[in-house]
């Protein structure tokens, strides 16, 4: 039996488990039916070890279930970043890490791989062959820590200076400190915040300055996929990937041109907006459904598609470019007491996404919008439950569904049935 190890080689498997624990905290061991029980136990133990007190457990009739529960406002740093800091390494990796940094720190003239192998042997009593040392030097050069130069036939390596190095930093102390304050903010507020958290780790800094509301920490798990997509976008390349439908659990391979990342600030969900050349349409795919991104050839018409998206995106309420007709209209009349409830009116304005708002008479406002898909707007419309005087639109089915929903809610909450209804 192999010994348990907190560290992992492959991020993809744990990504799925963490999502399950975080999003669907009600699952039991038996619900993770795709893997063996041992695999589940190891992954659960790993996640418990990484996330400590954020992991909770409860017992149900079907057994113990594990879940991650946290109010985003209470955490100084996304605890799921722990997953990014768990890549396994060998003894040689960590030994050479500290030895090479130690030996090159005070050596502006640089050293060759052979010099370093000899010094490691004489100073620390460990023997490494030149090739092993050379590979680590090259790896750290690629990471951006070392630089190399040739002198005669010999290749020398030098450690690059740190931003606040005692040997002379590359930034003034004030600027470095100001930048670190910014990092405490952006490590949660910017894409790839995990990278910021590694800067704070190395600077021995923690975030005490900021708290984050409407903050969805689980999406850090998609950053690997996001990175691959952004690289393709930068290089204007087509991509293919596997998309797994969350509803049907079916997987399919999709090929298209990646143009934009759509982000919902209200749910944290992120989507890839892809142009599909075959059906000649835009389609959004959830990043958490995407795996195995492959870069394909450069797309010659990238700019053309990008411009086409820009022309269309204002008519997209959310992420859907669908709709029963090309463009759908929606009119909603709301009752708002503008004197007593100016905040409701403000809400209407700030959430209108380009729709028009017209005051009809005192306490009555008309919202009108032209979007691809009325269905996407219905959740928002329902937030005005108790204020909707009238609603009409070109997508009669969607409007009908909304009216039925409101009526179902009326019956749901224990209200008298059989009331005579007029027309809306």
């Amino acid at each position: 039996m192999t010994e348990f190890n907190e560290l992992i080689k492959n991020f993809d498997r744990i990504r799925d488990y963490m999502r399950q624990f975080f999003i669907y905290g009600y699952k039991n061991r038996g619900d993770f039916d795709k893997k063996s029980g041992r695999t589940y136990d190891n992954e659960r133990r790993r996640v418990e070890s990484w996330l400590g007190d954020y992991v909770k457990s409860a017992y149900t009739e079907k057994g113990k279930n594990i879940y991650i529960s946290v109010d985003s406002k209470t955490i100084p740093q996304n605890p799921l970043y722990g997953a990014w800091k768990s890549k396994s390494f060998t003894d040689n990796d960590i030994l050479l890490h500290f030895f090479l940094l130690d030996l090159l720190f005070d050596s502006p003239e640089g050293k060759t791989a052979k010099d370093l192998a000899d010094e490691i042997s004489s100073r620390y009593g460990m023997v490494f062959d030149g090739q092993t040392v050379r590979l680590k030097l090259k790896e750290y050069e690629e990471l951006g820590l070392f630089t190399s130069f040739k002198q005669g036939k010999n290749l020398f390596y030098r450690l690059l200076p740190g931003p606040a190095s005692p040997n002379g930093g590359t930034l003034s102390p004030d600027t470095w400190q100001a930048l670190l304050s910014a990092v405490t903010f952006y490590q949660e507020a910017a894409p790839f915040g995990f990278v910021g958290s590694t800067i704070l780790d190395e600077a021995d800094m923690e975030n005490h300055l900021f708290q984050f509301k409407h903050h969805f920490i689980v999406h850090t798990l998609e950053d690997g996929v996001l990175g691959e997509i952004l690289t393709a976008m930068k290089e204007r390349k087509k991509i293919s990937f596997i998309n797994r439908s969350r509803r049907s659990q079916n997987s399919s391979t999709v090929t298209g041109i990646p143009l934009k990342i759509y982000v919902s600030t209200q749910t944290g969900r992120r989507y890839l907006c892809l142009y599909l050349e075959g059906p000649r349409r835009f389609l959004n795919y959830r990043l958490d459904s995407i795996t195995a991104v492959t870069h394909l050839e450069i797309c010659e018409k990238y700019e053309e598609y990008e411009n086409a998206l820009l022309r269309n995106m204002n008519h997209c309420w959310g992420v859907s470019f669908d709709g029963s007709s090309r463009m759908e209209e929606l009119y909603m009349k709301l009752w708002i007491d503008e004197e007593r409830e100016p905040h409701i009116l403000n809400r209407l304005y700030r959430e209108s996404r380009g729709g028009e708002i017209l005051k009809i008479r005192d306490h009555e406002y008309l919202y009108s919008g032209l979007f691809f898909d009325t269905n996407e707007m219905l959740s928002w419309v329902k937030t005005f439950t108790g204020r909707i005087l009238d609603i009409q639109g070109t997508n009669a089915m969607a409007i009908g569904k909304l009216v039925r929903d409101l009526e179902t809610m009326y019956h749901m909450y224990g209200l008298p049935k059989g009331t005579e209804h007029g027309t809306v």
Binding site: D91, A182, I261, T265, T383
Partner: protein, 328 residues
């Protein structure tokens, strides 16, 4: 650039901290375990401490002191940033909010330092389709100035004199000890969590919208250690959670779990009704917001309690029914 990279492994940070302590005094195994727990994971000590103690990783002398010759290399900021880290920082310079942290000179210095580093991402790569339209004016010089003053007061634990305009447009002056800055990406707003002066003490909890702060400057008073340490509770947790019943139709379970993922919650499956019961704990300051969010789901989730919350839902639903069907 690879994100999942062993260089960022937290075990390296654990060993770095152990070696930093070992520079000045011998480090015991007990202390190594404490540092492993602090900078690593819960079980990291089991993997790290034996290797340091038995010499597999010969970074320590038998007495527990560092065996490395340049301990300065381990100090914060001593080592260079990786290409990935610099590339991430370079992307931040494109964001208008960076000016809230850096002065013009600092910005220029940082830009020069990062010149030649390609940004990891660009703002144009993203479209925040449902962000609110009345976000704070990050690019306004006066707003930036006020933000700098507040951030400085927060870091140096100074009280602030603040001229503030409330929702009704009335302005007043108050003195407050800053505790934290709250940020919402949905609203695009910063809010100052602070303790306002009440009598001789800073004790009254307040959340001030930075966009409504008309002017501010640091007061002469340094915030006492006790007041500063008594950190602003980020959440005034409700006494009873809102309990939701989720049937699962129209993908409601998945939607609910994602939508309420930022709340502390507990979900369980109820065999007899074949529904999921989700208990949501929320900040009492955000009750109306949660109410609206729940309404947005319509009938695919049902509020079971508490009664006070249920009553608010019921009132809105009845009112809606009346607006549609009651003769005027």
């Amino acid at each position: 650039m690879e994100l999942f990279e062993k260089y960022y492994n937290c075990y390296y940070q654990v060993v770095r901290h152990i070696l930093m302590e070992a520079e000045t005094s011998p480090v015991t195994e007990k202390r190594m375990r404490e540092l492993s727990e602090r900078y690593g994971y819960q079980e990291s000590a089991l993997a790290i401490v034996p290797k340091l103690s038995d010499g597999t990783w010969p970074f320590l002398t038998p007495s527990g002191c560092t065996a490395l010759t340049h301990p300065d290399a381990l100090k914060p900021g001593a080592l260079p940033l990786t290409k990935l880290q610099k590339s991430w920082l370079s992307a931040l310079l494109e964001d208008p909010r960076i000016r809230l942290f850096l002065t013009e000179e600092q910005y220029k210095e940082a830009a020069l330092w990062l010149s030649g580093t390609e940004p990891l991402f660009s703002r144009d790569n993203f479209h925040f389709f449902d962000a609110y339209e009345d976000k704070d004016p990050y690019e306004d010089a006066e707003y930036q100035k006020r933000f700098h003053i507040i951030l400085d007061a927060l870091q140096s634990r100074k009280a602030l004199i603040i001229a503030y305009e409330n929702r009704k447009g009335e302005s007043s002056v108050r003195e407050a000890a800053p505790c934290q800055l709250q940020y919402s990406s949905r609203d695009g707003k910063f809010r100052l969590c602070c303790l306002e002066r009440s009598g001789k003490q800073f004790s009254k909890h307040a959340i001030l919208n930075l966009g409504r702060i008309l002017a501010c400057h640091p007061s002469h008073e340094k915030v006492s250690e006790t007041a500063a340490l008594r950190s602003f509770p980020p959440v005034r947790r409700c006494e009873e959670p809102v309990v939701l019943e989720i049937g699962g139709e129209r993908n409601s379970l998945e939607r609910c779990m994602l939508h309420f993922a930022n709340y502390e919650k507990r979900t369980r499956y109820q065999e007899e009704t074949r529904t999921w019961i989700c208990s949501l704990y929320y900040d009492t300051a955000d009750e109306t917001e949660l109410l609206i969010e729940i309404l947005s789901f319509g009938p695919v989730i049902r509020v079971l309690g508490p009664d006070s919350f249920l009553e608010q839902i019921r009132a809105r639903v009845i009112r809606q029914h009346e607006l549609f069907y009651k003769p005027i």
